[in-house]
């Protein structure tokens, strides 16, 4: 069996009923998809299969033989965040981060789909994803910003150290 993960082709040797989640994490060492509930209920394992968000814990690898898989590893790098990553960073949409990869891939699918989904449509699209930390408001804010392109990825300013400046201005009343 073969998978193309984030543009790189891999031969898969795990038994055919192994979940895509286990193949990614244990065979290919691609660990952004998280093993949360492993029964479809949390969305932490969501990846894109041929562009569509799928729960990798519910998907036997044989069912996606030959498919294109996208995970957070393929989005951006710490110095060069993708729009979705920058939006999560800007809006404080992650705390422990366990749910974040799943949310980001679902968000990426929404961005790729284009159009102008309403806040309610965004909420519906993400409703299979659980977060035990943030209370969702900031996540939905981040995804709304990402789909509307209202995000500063900071890509051109990476060298100017904008993160350090942000850290200061974001604490109200703190000394300059």
């Amino acid at each position: 069996m073969r998978l193309t993960v984030n543009g790189t082709e891999h031969e898969v040797l795990s038994p055919p009923l192994t979940t895509l989640l286990e193949v990614l994490r244990e065979e290919l060492s691609i660990t952004s998809p998280k093993a949360g509930c492993q029964q479809g209920g949390c969305g932490a394992c969501t990846v894109l299969v041929d562009g569509e968000p799928r729960r990798s814990c519910l998907t036997p690898v044989a069912a996606v033989d030959g498919a294109r898989i996208a995970t957070v590893e393929g989005l951006g790098t710490p110095d060069d965040l993708s729009v979705v990553q920058a939006a999560f960073h800007e809006h404080y949409a992650a705390q422990c981060g366990f749910c974040t990869s799943g949310f980001m891939m679902a968000a990426q699918a929404l961005v790729d789909r284009g159009g102008e989904p309403s806040r309610e449509e965004i909420r519906q699209a993400l409703s299979g994803h659980l977060c035990r930390c943030t209370g969702y408001v900031k996540i939905i804010d981040a995804v709304t910003a990402a789909v509307n392109g209202e995000v500063d990825t900071g890509r051109s300013e990476a060298d100017a150290g904008p993160q350090g400046e942000d850290a200061v201005t974001l604490i109200p009343g703190s000394p300059a």
Partner: protein
């Protein structure tokens, strides 16, 4: 993991290949969308000897022709957005968008009863629509009423498709529980096809049931309350983690009345 190692796996690339690989169904575990069966395998509760993956077998179409709708077993729950009521609304309330894009009609119809979670929510809609199930198995292909199919317990049959005459009207009323997405605790579906009204309830037993006494009462007088009063003739509500039998028996008649009132 032993549960996945031992299995012989067939990835069917056509309906015919699926039927051949299924054979008499002995020792075959069918994997459709996998949303129920894959966790069973992953956690070792199910150890398939042979697994038949249907993802590439076709069987996914939804056609509406000459007043009849036919839905392939592998049509996703999301695709049922094109189906008539009450199937459409019922499907929209299954799980969340990601699961709906993976879960199938066939898997919902054949879902083993969930102990503490909703499964098989589409069954009541299919009963209300008077659906016919076409399946393959030991004695070849056969087509039967969905109620007969469910009563016989689906093991041993490979579902190919489901079809029904388009109803004049369809409606549903449900109790849902808010979660990240609201899920259905109890639901009543009704449909009028060729002048006949069929009523079915889901969430009140291991599989959906047809409410014949309520149908007869409604046929007599066209009175939704009279039908509601008879729903417990056919349904014996149970206690579980989602609701008590007491709550179910109080709520079911209300849902029957609402569904029939909406059936214009």
């Amino acid at each position: 993991m032993a549960a996945v190692d031992a299995a012989e796996v067939v990835v069917a690339t056509s309906a015919q290949e699926a039927v051949e690989a299924f054979g008499s169904g002995a020792d075959v575990t069918v994997v459709a969308g996998g949303t129920i069966v894959v966790p069973e395998i992953t956690h070792g509760r199910l150890r398939p000897r042979r697994a038949l993956l249907l993802g590439g077998a076709g069987l996914a179409g939804l056609t509406r022709e000459a007043g009849r709708t036919t839905v392939g077993a592998m049509a996703t729950v999301a695709a049922l957005d094109q189906a008539p009521e009450p199937l459409r609304s019922t499907a929209r309330h299954v799980a969340d968008a990601e699961i709906r894009a993976q879960a199938t009609l066939g898997g919902n119809l054949c879902a083993p009863p969930g102990e503490q979670s909703p499964r098989g929510d589409l069954q009541a809609a299919l009963i209300a629509l008077g659906a016919q199930v076409r399946s393959a198995g030991a004695d070849g292909e056969r087509t039967e009423d969905v109620e007969e199919f469910l009563a016989a317990s689906p093991g041993g049959r490979l579902v190919l498709d489901v079809s029904f005459a388009d109803p004049q009207a369809g409606s549903t009323a449900a109790v849902r529980r808010p979660h990240a997405h609201a899920y259905t605790v109890l639901a009543v579906c009704a449909a009028r096809t060729g002048g006949q009204v069929r009523i079915a309830a889901s969430g009140a037993g291991p599989r959906a049931v047809r409410c014949r006494a309520a149908e007869a009462a409604f046929a007599d007088a066209g009175d939704a309350q009279a039908a509601a009063d008879r729903v417990l003739d056919d349904v014996t509500p149970h206690d579980d983690a989602l609701a008590s039998a007491w709550y179910r028996s109080r709520t079911l008649p209300v849902l029957v009345r609402r569904a029939l009132t909406d059936l214009t």
